[in-house]
C-alpha cells in the first residue's frame, strides 16, 4: 500500500534549516552547536516515526513535481531506504556531540563552515536514502559530494587541499558516469523509478547495452570505493576525525554502496542480474577488493589510513552480499550497512580521541595507550572484533548471513566463504597488533600510568556506538533493523536462489 505523507520532506528540511541557523549564529558557538544537536535529533525522530508504517509493508511517497514524463521528483521510502536513513541520522546525533568535543579540544578554525557543511552533507545522504528514483538520487548524490569538499580540505594545509582536489576529481567524475547511466536508463526504460524486483521495461534493451549500463553505474558509484577506484578514500583521511567517522565510514561511502544495492535490486532486479551473469562479475570485483584492501591495510602505520582500508574492505563485503543475488546474501548486505556503520564509527571516534588526548596518529607510537585511555581502547577493541567478524559483535551476525547466502547461491558462489575466511584472518592480522600494542607494550615515555581519557562529549558517543555494536549481536532488531531488512527482502519478491 502506498501512503502519501510529508514526513520525508520534514526530515530532509531539518538539516537544511539547521544549516541556515548555524550560519546566523556563527558568533555564538553554544547556540550554534545546539542548533546542530536539535536538527539532528528532530530529524532522527521524524525518520524513526516512519518505521511503524513501513514495517506493515507500506511505502511512503512524497512527490513534488514531474521533471520529465515518467520521472517525478520525489521521495519514496521503503524499508531499505529507511535502514540507511536511520543509520545516518542516528549517528549524526552522536557525531554532533563528538564534534563539539573534538573541534573545541583542538581549537579548530572555521567551525561554522564545518557545522554548516556537515549539515548539508547529511541533507545529501538522507536525500539519497529517501529518493524515489535515480534522478532525485543523483541530485542529492551530487549535493553530498560538493558539500563534503570543504570538510575534507578543512585543515587548509597543502596536504588537505590536495586531498580535497583528489576527492572532487574522483567523485565528480563518477557523478558524470552516474548521470550518463541515469539518462541511459531513462532512454531504455522510460522511467527511473525504483521498483521492487527491478524495472520490467529495462529488460527490453540489448544485452550489451545493459552490461555497459551496469559498468556505468558501477563507475558512477565510485563512492563505494571499490578497487581500483578507491584511492580517494585513504587520501580523504586528511579531514578532521568526525568527518572521517560519519562521512567516510557511514554517509558518503554508504551512499555509494546503497546506490549499488538500489541498482541491483530495484533497477535491474535479481532475475535480470542472473540473466546477464552480472552477479558473478560483481562478486569477483568485490572479493578482489576485499582481499587487496586488507593487504593494503596491513602496510599502514597511520591509524586512520588503516581504518580507511578496512572501510574499503567492508564496503566491498556489502557489494559482495548483494552480488550473491540470494535472499540471505541481500539480507546480509542490507544489514551490514547499519552494522558496519556503528562499528566503524566507533573505531574512527577512538582514533580521534587518541589524537585529541595524546596527539598521536601512528600505531607504532601507541604503545601502552590502553592503560592511559582504558575506555577508549576497550571500545576500540569491541569495534575491532566486529571488523574481524568475531562474536559477540554485530559483524558476526552479518557474516553468518553472507556465508548462508553463498550456500543458497550455490555453484561457483559456494567457494566464496573461503575467501571471506581469508579476509577475516587478514582483518585479525591488522587489528590485533593495534590492541596488543595499546594494552601490552610498555610506553617508552614511561610514567604513563595516570588515566587521562577523552572529554565526555567524545566518550559518551563512543560508548553508545560500541554498546550498540554488541547489542546488535544479541538483539539485531534494535532500531527495528532486522525487521526492516526482512520487509525489504520480502518485498523484493522474486529473489530465489
Amino acid at each position: 500500500m502506498i501512503v502519501e505523507s510529508i514526513r520525508p520532506l520534514l526530515a530532509i528540511l531539518c538539516p537544511a534549516i539547521g544549516s541556515i541557523l548555524i550560519i546566523l549564529f556563527s558568533k555564538r558557538p553554544n547556540i550554534r552547536e545546539s542548533w546542530t544537536m536539535l536538527a539532528s535529533i528532530a530529524q532522527f525522530l521524524i525518520i524513526f516515526s516512519m518505521i511503524s508504517t513501513i514495517i506493515e509493508g507500506n511505502i511512503i511517497k512524497c512527490t513534488f513535481f514531474t521533471a520529465f514524463p515518467g520521472v517525478d521528483f520525489g521521495f519514496r521510502i521503503d524499508a531499505f531506504g529507511l535502514i540507511f536513513a536511520i543509520t545516518s541520522t542516528f549517528l549524526w546525533i552522536l557525531v554532533s556531540s563528538y564534534s563539539i568535543g573534538y573541534m573545541r579540544s583542538l581549537h579548530e578554525h572555521a567551525q561554522t563552515r564545518y557545522y554548516f557543511c556537515f549539515a548539508w552533507a547529511i541533507f545529501g545522504a538522507v536525500g539519497v536514502a529517501l529518493s524515489g528514483n535515480l534522478l532525485t538520487m543523483f541530485i542529492f548524490y551530487e549535493i553530498l559530494t560538493v558539500s563534503t569538499y570543504p570538510l575534507v580540505a578543512h585543515d587548509q594545509t597543502p596536504e588537505a587541499l590536495f586531498a580535497g582536489r583528489k576527492y572532487l576529481a574522483y567523485l565528480l567524475s563518477s557523478g558524470c558516469f552516474f548521470l550518463a547511466a541515469v539518462v541511459l536508463t531513462y532512454h531504455f526504460a522510460g522511467t527511473t523509478d525504483f521498483m521492487n524486483g527491478g524495472i520490467s521495461t529495462l529488460a527490453e534493451a540489448s544485452r550489451g547495452a545493459l552490461m555497459a549500463l551496469f559498468a556505468l553505474f558501477l563507475l558512477g558509484f565510485m563512492k563505494a570505493a571499490w578497487m581500483p577506484f578507491h584511492s580517494w578514500l585513504p587520501t580523504a583521511m586528511a579531514a578532521p576525525t568526525p568527518v572521517s567517522a560519519l562521512l567516510h565510514a557511514v554517509a558518503v561511502v554508504k551512499a555509494g554502496v546503497f546506490g549499488i544495492v538500489r541498482v541491483v535490486c530495484y533497477i535491474y532486479g535479481v532475475d535480470l542480474m542472473h540473466g546477464l551473469g552480472l552477479g558473478l562479475a560483481l562478486a569477483c570485483l568485490a572479493t578482489f577488493t576485499i582481499i587487496v584492501a586488507n593487504l593494503f591495510a596491513l602496510a599502514q602505520d597511520n591509524l586512520k589510513r588503516r581504518l580507511a582500508y578496512s572501510t574499503i574492505n567492508q564496503l566491498s563485503l556489502i557489494i559482495f552480499g548483494v552480488a550473491l543475488l540470494s535472499p540471505a546474501g541481500i539480507e546480509g548486505a542490507m544489514m551490514h550497512i547499519p552494522f558496519h556503520g556503528f562499528m566503524k564509527i566507533t573505531l574512527f571516534m577512538c582514533a580521534g580521541a587518541i589524537m585529541v588526548v595524546t596527539g598521536k596518529k601512528n600505531i607504532s607510537e601507541m604503545a601502552g595507550i590502553g592503560k592511559k585511555m582504558p575506555v577508549t581502547m576497550i571500545t576500540f577493541t569491541i569495534g575491532a572484533l566486529g571488523m574481524c567478524a568475531l562474536p559477540p559483535t554485530a559483524g558476526y551476525v552479518t557474516h553468518h548471513f553472507f556465508v548462508h547466502g553463498c550456500e543458497e547461491a550455490g555453484g561457483t558462489m559456494s567457494f566464496f566463504p573461503y575467501i571471506l575466511l581469508i579476509a577475516a584472518i587478514l582483518d585479525v592480522m591488522y587489528f590485533f597488533p593495534i590492541i596488543y600494542t595499546a594494552f601490552f607494550e610498555k610506553s617508552e615515555e614511561g610514567g604513563g600510568s595516570k588515566i587521562k581519557d577523552a572529554p565526555l562529549f567524545m566518550l559518551v558517543p563512543i560508548a553508545i556506538t560500541a554498546t550498540c555494536s554488541i547489542i546488535f549481536f544479541f538483539y539485531p532488531d534494535l532500531f527495528h533493523i532486522s525487521e526492516l531488512v526482512e520487509t525489504a527482502v520480502q518485498s523484493l519478491g522474486g529473489v530465489h536462489p
Binding site: F68, F73, I143, Q156, L161, L168, L172, S173, C176, V183
Partner: protein, 513 residues
Amino acid sequence: MILSVVEQFPVLVVVISLLSAFTILIAGWLNKKSCWFLSFSTILVQLVMSVFILNHVLTIGTIHYWLGGWAPPWGIEYVVDALNAYVLVILLSLALICVTYSKRSIAHELPHKIVPFYTVYQLLVTGLCGVVVTGDIFNMYVFVEIFSLSAYALIASRGKIALKASFTYLVLGSIGACFFLLGIGFLYSVTGTLNMHDLSVLLPPLYGNKVVLAAFGFFTVGLSIKMALFPLHTWLPDAHSFAPSEISAMLSGIIIEVSTYAFIRVCFSVYTVNFIKLLPIFDFLCWIAALGIIIGSVLAIAQYNLKRMLAYSSVSQMGYIMLAVGLSTSTHHALWGGLTPALMHILNHALMKGCLFLVAGAFIYKAELWNITDFKGLGRKMPYTCAAFTLAAISMIGVPPSVGFVSKLYIILASLEAGKFIFVAVMLLSTLLNLVYFWRVIEMMYMRREEREKESHSHPPANKNEIPLSMLIPVLTLASLCIIFGILWLTEIPIPILDQVNALFGLGRYAAP
C-alpha cells in the same frame, strides 16, 4: 487597424530607449548624477513593457506593428512572437541588473566618462531591443550595427590596452556585419523583399538556387563571428577581459546571445525547417559546437586572469547553445525537442555568466584583483560576493539543482534522442573541465591561507570589506536566480513559453512527420 496599448509596446521599447540615450547626453551636461537615474528608469520601464508583451504574446498571440502605418512588405514591420518576447525579457532584466550595479562601479572606474558611458549604454540597449523586436531583416542589420558600435565604444572606454581589444572586435565585428549585409543583399536580389515573413513565403521555390544557398552561408559565418562561435571567437577573450565588468557581463550574458537569436531567426523565420533539412549544415554546426565546448574549456584552464578565464568559458558555453540549436531539427520530444534546450541555456547562461562577471568586477572594484592567484582569503573578506561566485560557479559545473545542471541534462537527453552518443560524452567531459577551472578559484578564495596568517597560526577576526549594497544586490540576485531557475526548469513551469516557439517554427513535437 486599431491596436491595443500592449501592441504599441514593441516600438515603444525601442523608441523610448533611443530618446532616453539623447536625453541622458543633454541631462548629463547639467547634472552628472541624473544619468544613472535616467538610464535606470528607462530600462525599468522597458522591462515592465517587455513583461506585458510576453504576457500578451502568450495569452493572445503574436504582435504585429507596422511602422508609420505602412503595410508590409513595403513598410517596416515589428513582429513579436514567443521567441522575441522571451529573449526581450531576459535582455532587459540583465540590462537592468547591470545598470544597477554600474552606479557605484562606474563612478569608481570611469569617473570622467559617466555621461558618455550611460549614453552609449542606453544606445547598446536600444540596439539589442531593436534586433529582437524587428520583423524586417534589413532593419535587423541596422540594429546589429547600432549595438555593435556601442559595444566597441564601451569596450574601449577604459583606454590603453582596451583600445586594442576594441579594435580587434571592431575589425572582426565589421566583417561579420558585412557578411550579414551581403546575405541580405543576395536575398533581396532574388526575392525583392526584406520582410522576414514575406521572405519565408517567397523563398521555398528558390531553395535550390545558388544565390540563396550562398546567402545562407554568409548569414551563418557572419553571425558566427558575432556570437563568437569557435573557431571565430578570437576577438572575444580580449574584449571581455578589458571591458568594464558590467559591460563584460552584458557582452557575455546577452550580446552574443542576441546574435544567436538573430541566427535562429534567420534559420527558422527567413529560411524554414524544410530548408535546413536540405543541407547537413546543422550536423556540421553540432560538431563545431562540440569542438568549441572542449577547446573553450581547455583554453579557460590555461588562464590565470579571472575575466579572461570567464571569457573562454563563454566560448565553451556558446558551444552548448549552438550544439542545442544544431540538435533542434532532429529531436521531437515534447520537453527537450526542438529549440527548448537552446533557449533554456540562453537564459541560464545570462544568469550564470552575468553573475560571474559582476563578481569579477567586484574584486577589481575593491582591490584591483585581476588574477586568480591574488584571491587568497577573499572568502572571509567578502563573504557574500564569494558565496555568489560559488553558487554561479557550481551552476557552471552543473551541480544539481542549479540552472547549469538542467541545461546539461536537457542537452544530453536531446543528443540521446538524436542518437548522437558522442555529444553526451562531450557534455560530461565539459563538466569535468569546468570543474577544473572553476574549482581552482573557489579553492583559492576559501581554502588557501594567506602568507601572513601562516606565520602567526592565529586567526584574526575577519575584517569584512564588502562591496556597496547597490553592487551586492545585483550579484546576489543573479546568484540566487541560478538556483531558483534551476528548480523552476525542473518543475517545467516555464517550458510552455519555449513550447510555443517550437510550435511557431514547426520544431520538436510540432515537426511535420
